[in-house]
Symmetry: C2
Subunit: 339 residues, 2 copies
């Protein structure tokens, strides 16, 4: 008999995620059927998207999310015992899944199913949830394909010390841009400067518009947004004609109750500056291009051009705390849980 633990989301979040929204369930795992595998998670991911995504689902359910895991038992010819996989099985410490049918309704099999882990060589497998996984591809494709930064341009990143933002800024530096980041503590800003950001501002202390007058005197060409709300309005106001904004996240709104709050309408601004604002989900690049992103990111990390920081919470029992920490700014770089 093998026991597995998983976290269930009991009801929709109301405001910030709270411990009582979750229940830890321990149960006997079923015996494997044909083409099933049993895994145990090594690292589990918590990401801001989980807050708005679950609002459109029907609780109770196993809390959503991806993990890096090891195959413990296999009745599937493509998966061997001991093999490392990346899968979207939710907050499960140990579980049984059917790789063939998993994730059919997800943006892409690559994101929604079970993927043999790409070989990262000497790099930590935890990166498969960060720089060399979904957040890495979010930064890579979102910046390069939507903002299309050119050398010499100025790129602004909000949520710059997060899993995605910290990568976006470094990719923009590799592409020859001036990079300005906004984050929520002085320590995070110091770290951003240490990894190559030209400017980093603590938005809790500095006015965004004023900061950009200093840091982006020629105006902003590209904006990679993880935050939304009035901070984004201020950045959009500082953009040059034909500027491009990739809208990746809106964490400032996610825990609002009673609908997202109002902000200055950006539509008139879009007209007179001819701005292009595009939201995206990384599943757009699922399929053949997924590995392109992972390989590029892994190359830059291995070569030292991209520095990675992780905030690791120890113990599967602390999954809710890790998620909650995302919204109070407790992570620098990727937040993950070591099971």
């Amino acid at each position: 008999m093998v026991l597995g633990r998983r976290w269930v989301l009991k009801h929709h979040f109301h405001g910030h995620p709270k411990p009582e929204d979750f229940e830890l369930v321990e149960e006997e795992l079923p015996a494997l059927k044909d083409r099933q595998i049993r895994f145990h998670s090594l690292y589990l991911s918590v990401d801001p998207y989980m807050r708005p995504y679950t609002a459109r689902m029907n609780p109770p359910f196993t809390m959503i999310g991806s993990s890096v895991a090891e195959v413990e038992e296999s009745r599937h010819p493509d998966f061997k015992v001991g093999q490392t996989i990346v899968l979207m099985a939710g907050w499960m410490e140990r579980g049984v899944v059917s790789p063939d049918t998993m994730g059919k309704d997800s943006p892409g099999k690559t994101l929604g199913g079970v993927m043999p882990a790409p070989d990262l060589g000497a790099l930590s497998k935890s990166l498969l949830l960060g720089a060399c996984g979904m957040p890495g591809n979010t930064a890579y494709f979102g910046l390069l394909e939507i903002c299309k930064p050119k050398a010499g341009e100025t790129v602004v990143v909000s949520g710059a010390a997060g899993a995605v933002g910290s990568l976006v800024g470094q990719i923009a530096k590799i592409k020859g841009c001036t990079v300005v980041g906004f984050a929520g503590t002085d320590d995070k800003c110091a770290w951003l400067r240490s990894i190559g950001f030209d400017h980093a501002f603590n938005y809790k202390k500095s006015d965004v518009a004023e900061s950009l007058k200093t840091a982006a005197p020629k105006g902003v060409d590209c904006y990679f947004d993880n935050v939304g709300g009035e901070m984004s309005i201020a950045v959009l106001n500082a953009m040059n004609t034909r500027g491009r904004a990739a809208i990746c996240g809106a964490i400032s709104h996610y825990n609002e109750v009673g609908g997202y709050s109002k902000t200055t309408d950006i539509l008139p601004l879009c007209i007179f500056k001819e701005l292009m604002v595009e939201g995206f989900l990384v599943g757009r690049w699922a399929g053949p291009r997924w590995v392109e992103g992972i390989k590029a990111m892994a190359g830059w990390v291995a070569g030292g051009q991209i520095k990675v920081k992780e905030t690791t919470v120890e113990g599967f029992a602390k999954m809710p705390q890790a998620l909650m920490g995302l919204f109070t700014g407790e992570n620098t770089g990727k937040m993950l849980v070591k099971a």
Copy 2:
């Protein structure tokens, strides 16, 4: 001695344009220098853009705008007496200009200077300010190059009975789309249906979201926006994944005092629907492409595929009333003044 009349904007508008914002000046015109021409306007244009544009200029100045005119006297080899021209000389009944140096600071020489009128054959020269001029190209390029509608898709147009909106809907029909328009009176909606719009709603009587449930049951793929504000939020909420919005105008905001009013933040919506929202000014297509648009539009108008309506105010003395009428919905189709 030749007298000329022109309208001066005395100070910035505050709220809606009012008669006392303008002064009609009559003055003796100077004798022509080398490479100058004297013209008299046949038709003058009033357009919503004039309201926000003048807010960024320093009054007093001759009120901005374009006209179709006839050359009365010429010391420029490229312009002959009696020739029809389109020029951006502002609200001048009769004036003297230097074609070589005019409009250097404008989006493009084509828009900002003096252009020999394209030959429209049997069509009215007034169309050079509408379907076969700047509004025509705004509709043509804005819809085709930014929204990129595909046959079978659903296109929504706000300000649909205006100079630009009424053309956008008809171009979308030519391209095989289902077209939904929003306008401000029942009569305008009836006209829109008569020229081929599949659905037209009076936004003063119909809830936008509810209307779209009926008219766009498969969701909205393209949005051509002349209005902004909460109407646009409602349309964006009805869009399909990867929808495209061309932001051409925001007339609902232009007369607001103390900054544009707040609306629901569209950034989270952009993310989860992966929307692309792009503002544009038609000057982007100044230069060689300008004539492409004019020719295409003139061909459709001459061939009857595009129906044109003009609201003509008689008399140069009524320029301010014509402009004011744009913001109270007095025009159907292009609003212009016959001098």
